[in-house]
């Protein structure tokens, strides 16, 4: 077989001008929503010290980060998410700012591909962090911002599932693990999914529901008692957006009240990220 001397590693891609144009237009639409809603754009470096960032990373993210040694022998990593570097930055240079802090980003993250197929390792993400307080208003604001961004990109057949850590109260570790792994057989049933009727035990979500109703976005929303994400990270509401026709999850987020404190800044926060790589596939 002939060797291709111009090949690139699997999981990354070039953009020629026509591709860049579509890509930037998509990003611009998303970030214009963030700007309209008063999120200020920030940037963190691609490269971080392993030791510094790992304070806030879940074991899973630590594993999937691309790590190596810099010339001085220090372990470094390519940032595997945005929220953790932003928490580090806010705790160091922005800890005197007036709260709430509304921040946005639109840059790639890097994760190793541990499967056999050519999954992306350079993942473009655009998202926001809303730092300070843990009100229902803040949670609803994050969800509505996500909906507005997807709408502005031109997607119509999307939906958002909302879960909450309080749905897990009273469940054994085995049942929680079963949900985390999507193993509904071990959980014992397919978790309930629906509307307001599921929220009696979680008054906080009832407040969020009312705010979403006021914002007229309820048609996009389903509450899901089985939606659960990394428990070492999320502490309250969690949500994910999917595009029905493409069966793709395109955005994911939630409340992470313990992360900033790990970097020495005792504040609560909520945020989400749009997976722009997945979003592009639904726009083809």
């Amino acid at each position: 077989m002939k060797k291709n001397p111009l090949k690139t590693p699997s999981g990354v891609q070039d953009f020629i001008p026509t591709e860049t144009k579509v890509f930037s237009q998509t990003l611009k639409k998303i970030t214009s929503v963030f700007e309209d809603r008063n999120y200020a754009r920030i940037k963190t470096p691609t490269l971080e010290y392993y030791e510094t960032l790992s304070v806030g990373l879940s074991p899973k993210l630590k594993d999937s980060a691309i790590k190596f040694f810099d010339p001085s022998g220090q372990a470094v990593m390519l940032r595997p998410d945005h929220t953790t570097p932003i928490a580090r930055l806010v705790a160091s240079r922005m800890n005197q700012e007036k709260l709430p802090l509304k921040l946005s980003y639109s840059d790639p993250i890097f994760r190793q591909n541990l499967s056999g197929s050519d999954n992306d390792i350079e993942l473009y993400q655009a998202g926001v962090e809303l730092i300070g307080g843990n009100s229902a208003e803040a949670d609803a604001e994050a969800i509505i911002t996500c909906i507005e961004a997807l709408k502005r990109v031109g997607i119509t057949d999307f939906g958002i599932d909302i879960g909450h850590c309080d749905f897990l109260t009273g469940l054994s570790d085995e049942k929680r693990d079963a949900l985390l792994n999507g193993d509904y057989l071990a959980f014992g049933s397919i978790p309930e999914r629906g509307g307001k009727e599921l929220l009696k035990t979680v008054p906080h979500l009832l407040k969020v529901y009312t705010l979403l109703e006021k914002a007229d976005v309820l048609p996009y929303i389903a509450f899901n008692k089985g939606l659960i994400k990394d428990l070492s990270y999320y502490t309250g509401i969690v949500f994910e957006a999917y595009v029905a026709s493409h069966r793709k999850i395109v955005a994911s987020g939630g409340r992470y009240d313990a992360l900033l404190a790990k970097f020495g800044f005792n504040e609560k926060a909520v945020g989400f990220a749009i997976d722009v790589n997945a979003l592009r596939e639904t726009l083809r």
Partner: protein, 204 residues
């Protein structure tokens, strides 16, 4: 309509028996048709007939809403899908087997193991604290110890006949498998009622 990816072979035959029992009928003879996709008589279910190892990929990527595949393959591939039900048919075991002169007590460091299931095999030996040399093969695994390619094998067996015919005997059971019903993570949201209804029907 929901799309179901089904593993060709013995699981398919039993799946069709199950479908019939819960009132899902196809015009074609599913077991012998050369078509790769067929619809049931109501047009509510589309069946994709594919290789067992490909079922998780179809479901994870959303080319199919749900799938029927052996637990053995799920454990090996660890795909990003939802597990909905144990359909209880298609019983088989993943076992360590070797020639008559090897006993379970002979399994020790640097043993050479031929298998179609390298991930599961590696995890099994890791849990035992044994360093094994794993050799991935695509078929005729039983031949490996007979030709000196490996010391033992890690392979599926339902009745033990093939092992016996090749002068191999079972040393340990690695896992017991049956057919599982799996689903795409987004399909369960967009086709919520249809999938729940399907699960209820086949679980009876």
């Amino acid at each position: 309509m929901i799309t179901l990816a089904a593993a060709k072979g013995y699981l398919l035959t039993e799946a069709i028996t199950l479908f019939k029992a819960c009132g899902i009928h196809f015009d074609d003879d599913v077991a012998t048709t050369r078509k790769l996709s067929i619809k049931d008589q109501t047009g509510q279910l589309e069946l994709l007939i594919i290789r067992p190892w490909d079922v998780p990929v179809y479901v994870a990527q959303g080319a199919a809403d749900i799938g029927i595949v052996g637990k053995d393959i799920l454990v090996e591939q660890h795909p990003n899908v939802l597990t909905l039900a144990d359909l209880k048919f298609g019983k088989c075991k993943l076992v360590l087997a070797g020639p008559k002169h090897i006993q379970a007590s002979d399994i020790t460091h640097n043993i050479r193991v031929a298998t179609k299931f390298p991930n599961t095999t590696r995890r099994y030996f890791d849990n035992l604290g044994i360093k094994a040399t794993i050799l991935k093969l695509y078929g005729a695994i039983e031949l490996a110890p007979l030709t000196g390619l490996s010391d033992i094998i890690c392979d599926l067996t339902a009745t033990g006949t093939t092992l016996h015919e090749n002068n191999l005997h079972i040393l340990e059971t690695v896992l017991e498998s049956t057919a599982y019903l799996i689903a795409n993570r987004v399909s369960i949201k967009t086709k919520d009622a249809a999938i729940r209804d399907f699960v209820k029907r086949v679980e009876k």
